[in-house]
Symmetry: C2
Subunit: 107 residues, 2 copies
Amino acid sequence: MIYAMDTEELKARARVMRALASPVRLRIIEELRHGERCVCDLQPLFPRNKSTLSRHVAELRHLGVVGERREGVRIYLRLLTPCVLNMFDCAMGVVRVEAKRQAALLE
Amino acid sequence: MIYAMDTEELKARARVMRALASPVRLRIIEELRHGERCVCDLQPLFPRNKSTLSRHVAELRHLGVVGERREGVRIYLRLLTPCVLNMFDCAMGVVRVEAKRQAALLE
DNA sequence: GTATTGTTGCGCAACAATGCAACAATATAT
DNA sequence: ATATATTGTTGCATTGTTGCGCAACAATAC
């Protein structure tokens, strides 16, 4: 039995997952877990050109995971969909399952 | 205040998210939600060369999201970490939030 | 005007997805 | 045992996508 599934919905899901598939963007989200931060607060976390960080932030904003609020010259970011934090528990669960499987192969 | 965060863990999470960031792989997972399937069952879902599907499946297997069981000439796949299904609800939540935001901008 | 904060265009290098063709593994028929 | 069919994998080349730095720009504040 094969089930039907809307292609556009699959693409939409993939876009969201893709936005989260980067250590830099995951680090940003981890930081925003603790409250609002401006981009300049995040900059010291990354040994990267500021343009690169700006693009990572833009990706999260455009996708709707992160919201923004301008205050003078700074732009403050916040997490709009905290449920993404729950995803990480599952992600680490996957990592653990795989680690166990690898360990079992060695016996 | 800036919090510490292990780089390797971030990379591990990103690898899991990356494996899920593909409409093809998400479609495979959706199908496995309903039980075991062999690769040949999945083939008709994709207008792709079988080598391509094989690689997508391999990516999910190597990551530990999907397990395999050989039965004669067929290889049956199953979902090892069903929690990934919960991720999709959140992903669609993100999509809805963004849709609302876009709608609000039009007013 | 200058300083600070963030964005955008451009080019490059690394990576990912795909098809094709050849291959490996199992099952079955002769 | 050899051949043939079915199912899936792997090497290779091509094409497309992503991440990055640099430099120039925009927006706000003073």
